[in-house]
C-alpha cells in the first residue's frame, strides 16, 4: 500500500435526529484545530439557516481535517456528513459508500431509534466498520450501560470500547479521535489504475458550475483531464480539483483513497447524479461502481404563485432550486382554481416542505401548495396503464378497470407503552402489521405494510403526537397494490375547486370529506351571502357545511381620537383580504390549502 493512504481515514457520522450528530461534528472540527473556537458557528456543517433551525441536515457537507495522533503521525480525516432524514435514504447510502467506516452516535439517554437502525443497515450494506459512540453522557438521565447492551443486542456490533462523550461539553472527543485512527481502516486502491470515482454529492456554484463531491477509488484525476460520467455518458474537461477544509482549497490532483471536489463546467446538478461513476474518457475503467440508481419522486403536489405573485418569479426560483437538487423536479400545469402553476415531484413530504419553505424564505415568494399526492397506477379497461399523480388527471371512472397504489414497508420504533396507540393510528391508516419485535424490554419495533398515501398525509405528525415525540419512523417503497381509491372533490358555493381535490381510499372518503368541510368552515370568513361547502365523490355529496352570511362588522368606540389605532385595525383587515384567493364569488384565505392537510389531534 502506498504510504499516503495509511494516514487517511474516510468516515461518516450516523445518528438519529437529535442525537447530537452535528454538535459532535462541530467538536471534532474544533478539536482538530480547523476552525478557531471564535469563528465557530453553532453546528458548523449545517450551513443552511433552515437546517440549523430545524436541527436537521439537508445538504451534505464534507470536510478534510488534520489530526495529530498520540502515535506521532498526522492523519487526514475526511468527514463526510449525511443528511438526517428518511426522505434522503439514497443520498445517505451514496455518502456511506464513499467511506470505510461510520461513527455511530447513540444518545445515551434515549438508546437505539428506528433511524439509527436504518442508517446502520445502510452502513452494513456498504461493509463499513461501525464504531459506536455514546453521546450526551453529561446528562443525569444517561444510562450508558444499558444503551451499550442495547447496541450489542440490536445492532450486533461490539460496543464495549465505545467512547463516552458529551459533544456539548467537549468530553471524550480526544479518545474518539484516537479510536477513529485505530479502528477505521485506511482506504485501499491503486493510484496508477484506471480512474474510478464516486459522485456522492454535488452543488451548483455561480462561478464554477456544478461542484462534484467525489471519492476516488482507483486512479488519479487532475486539471485538464477529460472525464466521462459513466451512467449519463457525458464528457467534461476538469477545470479544478481540490479539497474542502472547510472552504475549497485547490490541489494538483486527487488520488485513489482521497476525497475532494471536481469542477468541470457542468451546468446542472442533474447532469452529475449522485451515485454515478467518474472515469477518464480516453482510458476508462471497465465497470462502474455498483449501487447507482436514478432517484424517483415519491410525492407530488402543485405549487402555484400566491395572489399578487408573478408566475415567472416562481418559475425562476424553481429552476434555481432544481439546479442544486437533482431529486426535485417540476413541470408547468394549470388549475382552474389557481391558474398557472407547477406540478412538483419530491422524495417525500419533508423534502416538499423544505422546498416550499426555501421558496418563501430565500426567494421571498408567496406560494400555494395543493394536497400532496402519491403516484397511482391506473389500469384502464382497454388494458393501457397510466401513472397519475394529479387528482385532476384521473381518467373518467367508466374508463378505469382498477387503480393500484404504492405500498411501503414501514418500521416504527416506540417505547412499549405507546404500542397500543401506534397500532391504532396504523390501523386507522390501513396499515397491516407484519410483525413486531422487542428490541429491549421497553422498546418495540413494529413492522407495517402501509399505503404510502397514508404515510404522506399526516402520519408523521400523528406518530410524534401520540408518542410525545419518542416514536420514530423509517419507510421504503415495496410495491404497487390494487386499491379502492376514489377522487374526492370540494365545492365552494356549488363550484368545484380543483386545487382541493384529492385521491383517497373509499373507506376514508366520508371522514376526510367531513374534516375538510369543517376546516374550511373555520377558515373561510363570512361573506355577504351564505357559502355552502360540500365534499363530493362524483355526483354524490357526502358532506356539507355552511359559512353564514355576515351581519356585523363595526368598531364602535374611537377612544380619545386615536385614529391610528383604528387605521391599523382596518389595515389588518385589508391585509387579510389580500391573502385571500378569489374562487368565483367566494374568498378563501391562502392558509386554507395547508390547513386542510394538518393533523388534528382531537379527531
Amino acid at each position: 500500500m502506498s504510504d499516503y493512504r495509511k494516514y487517511i481515514r474516510n468516515f461518516s457520522i450516523i445518528a438519529h435526529i437529535d442525537h447530537g450528530k452535528s454538535t459532535l461534528a462541530d467538536r471534532i472540527i474544533e478539536k482538530t484545530g480547523l476552525v478557531s473556537k471564535r469563528d465557530m458557528r453553532e453546528q458548523f456543517l449545517d450551513n443552511m439557516d433552515l437546517e440549523r433551525e430545524r436541527g436537521i441536515t439537508i445538504k451534505l457537507q464534507t470536510t478534510r481535517l488534520v489530526f495529530r495522533s498520540k502515535d506521532g503521525n498526522e492523519y487526514i480525516f475526511n468527514l463526510i456528513d449525511t443528511p438526517g432524514h428518511v426522505d434522503f435514504t439514497y443520498e445517505v447510502s451514496r455518502s456511506l459508500a464513499a467511506c470505510e467506516g461510520a461513527v455511530l452516535v447513540v444518545d445515551a439517554t434515549q438508546g437505539v431509534e428506528a433511524q439509527t437502525l436504518a442508517n446502520v443497515y445502510l452502513a452494513m450494506d456498504e461493509d463499513l466498520e461501525i464504531m459506536p459512540v455514546l453521546n450526551k453522557i453529561d446528562l443525569p438521565s444517561a444510562r450508558p450501560g444499558e444503551v451499550r447492551e442495547e447496541i450489542e443486542d440490536v445492532i450486533g456490533v461490539d460496543a464495549s470500547e465505545a467512547p463516552l462523550v458529551s459533544a456539548k461539553e467537549g468530553i471524550g472527543i480526544e479518545e474518539l479521535l484516537e479510536q477513529i485512527v485505530e479502528k477505521i481502516p485506511a482506504p485501499e486502491g491503486e493510484e496508477n489504475a484506471k480512474l474510478k470515482a464516486l459522485i456522492f454529492d454535488s452543488y451548483y456554484d455561480n462561478y464554477k458550475g456544478v461542484v462534484i463531491y467525489t471519492r476516488i477509488f482507483d486512479g488519479t484525476v487532475k486539471e485538464g483531464d477529460i472525464i466521462r460520467l459513466m451512467n449519463t455518458g457525458k464528457k467534461y474537461e476538469v477545470t479544478e480539483v481540490g479539497t474542502y477544509s472547510p472552504g475549497p482549497v485547490e490541489c494538483k490532483s486527487l488520488r485513489a483513497g482521497e476525497v475532494g471536489y471536481i469542477c468541470a463546467s457542468i451546468k446542472q446538478v442533474a447532469d452529475a447524479r449522485v451515485g454515478d461513476t467518474i472515469t477518464l474518457a480516453d482510458n476508462p475503467t471497465e465497470e462502474p461502481l455498483p449501487g447507482y440508481k436514478k432517484v424517483q419522486s415519491m410525492v407530488y403536489c402543485g405549487i402555484y404563485p400566491a395572489e399578487g405573485e408573478k408566475y415567472e418569479n416562481v418559475k425562476d426560483a424553481l429552476e434555481k432550486l432544481q439546479v442544486n437538487d437533482a431529486a426535485f423536479r417540476f413541470e408547468p400545469e394549470t388549475s382552474t382554481a389557481l391558474g398557472y402553476g407547477f406540478r412538483c415531484g419530491f422524495l417525500g413530504l419533508l423534502h416538499m416542505e423544505i422546498i416550499v419553505e426555501r421558496l418563501e424564505r430565500e426567494f421571498d415568494l408567496g406560494v400555494i401548495t395543493t394536497s400532496p399526492s402519491v403516484i397511482y397506477k391506473v389500469v384502464k379497461t382497454d388494458g393501457t396503464v397510466e401513472m397519475v399523480q394529479n387528482p385532476s388527471n384521473l381518467p373518467d371512472p367508466m374508463e378505469i378497470d382498477h387503480i393500484e397504489e404504492p405500498m411501503v414497508k414501514a418500521d416504527i420504533m416506540v417505547p412499549k407503552e405507546y404500542v397500543g396507540s401506534i397500532m391504532e393510528i396504523c390501523q386507522d391508516r390501513r396499515g397491516k402489521m407484519l410483525h413486531m419485535e422487542y428490541i429491549t424490554e421497553s422498546r418495540v419495533n413494529l413492522h407495517y405494510d402501509m399505503p404510502l398515501n397514508e404515510v404522506i398525509y399526516d402520519f408523521f405528525d400523528a406518530l410524534k403526537s401520540k408518542t410525545r415525540g419518542y416514536g420514530s419512523l423509517d419507510y421504503e417503497f415495496s410495491r404497487y397494490e390494487p386499491s379502492k381509491v376514489v377522487k374526492l372533490d370540494i365545492l365552494l358555493n356549488k363550484d368545484m375547486v380543483d386545487a382541493f381535490s384529492m385521491i383517497v381510499h373509499e373507506s376514508k372518503a366520508y371522514a376526510r370529506g367531513r374534516f375538510v368541510c369543517e376546516k374550511l368552515k373555520e377558515i373561510i370568513p363570512m361573506h355577504q351571502f351564505e357559502v355552502p361547502i360540500q365534499a363530493s365523490i362524483g355526483q354524490k355529496i357526502i358532506a356539507r357545511e355552511t359559512v353564514r352570511a355576515y351581519r356585523k362588522d363595526v368598531i364602535a368606540k374611537c377612544y380619545g381620537g386615536d385614529i391610528s389605532r383604528k387605521k391599523k385595525l382596518l389595515e389588518k383587515q385589508k391585509e387579510g383580504k389580500k391573502r385571500m384567493r378569489q374562487f368565483g364569488t367566494v374568498e378563501v384565505p391562502q392558509e386554507a390549502f395547508t390547513a386542510v392537510l394538518k393533523y388534528d389531534d382531537n379527531k
Binding site: 380619545g560 385614529i563 382596518l570 383587515q573 385589508k574
Partner: protein
C-alpha cells in the same frame, strides 16, 4: 351643524374607581384624592407647555374624558378648565364636555363644573339594569344612573349625554328595550350607543374565549338590538348623525364631529392622541413617564409616538372617518383638502363593488343603512 377650522382639546383623566371588566382603555383604579390633585397639577403644566407649541389657535370644543374625570375633586377640575381658558383662546360658544360616572357625581361637583364653564355632561350609564351593570363590573346601579341624570339637569346642565351599551352576554332584547325606554323617558339631549367589543387582555375576553363561561352575543342579535335602538330613537325625535351617536336636533356633539371631519384636535394627558397642523402624535402612555416629561417642561411625546403618514394614507383616513357620519362626507371637500380628484384616487368601480353598502347622495359619499352594519369591510377598502 357648523364645522370650523378651530381646534378641539381632549383632556384625558386615566383614573377610575375600579376597572370595568370589558375595559381595554388606558385607566387605572385610584381612590386617593391626593394623587388626583397632583395629576391635575401635571395637566396644568402640560397646558402651559402645549400652549407655547400651538399659540393663537381658537378652541371651540373641550372634551374631558377618561377614565373617570368626575373622580377628580370639583375645584381641581375647575382649575384645569380655567388654566385652559387662561392660556388658549377659547371661543365664547365653546362646547365643554366632562365624562362622569354616576357613582361619583355630587351636587358640589356639578356646581363646580358649571361655574368654570363646563356646559355638557356625558354620563356613563351603559344600562338601566342591575344584573347587567353588575356583570359589566360597573361601580353604580340603575338608581345611581337615574339620579345622576336628574341631578345634572336640576343643577343646570341643558346638554346631557348618556352612554349605552348593547350586545352584552346575557342581555336579552327585552332588557335592551327597557334600557332604551328608560333612556328616552329621561330624555337626554344626546345618546351614544356602543356595541360591546371583546378586547384581548380584558377579563371579559378570558371569560368568553378562554374559560368559555359565557358566550358572545350572536351577531344577528347584536344587529337586531342596534336596529331596535335606531328605530326607537328616531320615533322619539333623535337624529342619528354618526354610527354610534344620536342627538336631539342641534345637540350633535361638536367635539365628536371633529374626529370624523378631518379637523384638528390636541390631546392632553397620558395616551391622548393629537392631529394638529397636519401632524399625528400620541402622548406617552405610562403615567410615571408622562409626569417626568411634564416636570421637565417638555411635551410628553416620544419620537416613536409620532405617526408620519403619506398623502395616500391621509386620504384613506379622511374617507374612513368621514364614512362614520350618516351623511357621509362631501367629495368636493375631499378634493379641496388634497387637491386631487376623488375618483382618480379611488376608482369608480368601488361604488359597484360595494353596491348596497355605499352610495352617492348628491356630492356626498355615505354608507347605506346596511353598510353601517359592516362599516369596517367598506372602510378597509379605502385605507
Amino acid at each position: 351643524m357648523t364645522i370650523t377650522s378651530n381646534i378641539g382639546l381632549y383632556v384625558h383623566v386615566p383614573f377610575c374607581i375600579r376597572k370595568c371588566r370589558y375595559c381595554s382603555f388606558l385607566s387605572f383604579p385610584c381612590n386617593e384624592e391626593k394623587l388626583l390633585t397632583e395629576y391635575s397639577n401635571a395637566l396644568i403644566r402640560e397646558i402651559r407647555t402645549r400652549y407655547e407649541e400651538w399659540p393663537y389657535r381658537i378652541i371651540d370644543s373641550i372634551y374631558i374624558g377618561g377614565g373617570t374625570p368626575s373622580l377628580m375633586p370639583g375645584n381641581d377640575m375647575a382649575k384645569v378648565v380655567n388654566e385652559i381658558k387662561e392660556n388658549f383662546v377659547v371661543s365664547d360658544d365653546c362646547e365643554i364636555t366632562i365624562e362622569a360616572n354616576p357613582a361619583t357625581l355630587t351636587d358640589e361637583k356639578l356646581r363646580a363644573y358649571l361655574d368654570c364653564g363646563i356646559n355638557r355632561i356625558s354620563i356613563g350609564v351603559q344600562a338601566f339594569d342591575n344584573t347587567i351593570l353588575h356583570f359589566l363590573g360597573r361601580a353604580h346601579d340603575k338608581n345611581d344612573a337615574i339620579n345622576a341624570i336628574r341631578m345634572s339637569k336640576k343643577a343646570g346642565f341643558d346638554n346631557v349625554n348618556i352612554d349605552l351599551m348593547f350586545g352584552i352576554p346575557g342581555q336579552t332584547m327585552k332588557m335592551w328595550r327597557d334600557s332604551l325606554r328608560q333612556s328616552l323617558f329621561l330624555r337626554p339631549e344626546h345618546i351614544s350607543l356602543y356595541s360591546l367589543q371583546i378586547e384581548e387582555g380584558t377579563p371579559f375576553y378570558d371569560m368568553i374565549y378562554v374559560d368559555k363561561m359565557v358566550s358572545e352575543t350572536p351577531e344577528n342579535m347584536d344587529r337586531a338590538m342596534y336596529n331596535e335602538a335606531l328605530m326607537m330613537m328616531d320615533d322619539a325625535g333623535y337624529h342619528h348623525y354618526e354610527i354610534s351617536n344620536a342627538a336631539l336636533p342641534g345637540f350633535e356633539s361638536r367635539h365628536n364631529m371633529k374626529y370624523w371631519s378631518y379637523q384638528d384636535y390636541l390631546g392632553l394627558g397620558p395616551g391622548a392622541s393629537s392631529f394638529i397642523g397636519g401632524h399625528r402624535f400620541k402622548n406617552c402612555e405610562k403615567v410615571s413617564e408622562y409626569l417626568k416629561y411634564i416636570k421637565a417642561g417638555m411635551p410628553p411625546v416620544k419620537p416613536e409616538n409620532v405617526e408620519e403618514y403619506s398623502v395616500r394614507e391621509e386620504m384613506g383616513i379622511y374617507v374612513f372617518t368621514g364614512l362614520r357620519k350618516t351623511e357621509g362626507f362631501n367629495i368636493n371637500d375631499f378634493e379641496k383638502t388634497f387637491m386631487k380628484d376623488f375618483f382618480d384616487v379611488y376608482d369608480y368601480s368601488i361604488l359597484e363593488k360595494f353596491k348596497g353598502f355605499i352610495e352617492m347622495d348628491g356630492m356626498n359619499l355615505k354608507l347605506t343603512r346596511k353598510g353601517l352594519d359592516v362599516s369596517n369591510k367598506v372602510m378597509a377598502e379605502f385605507v
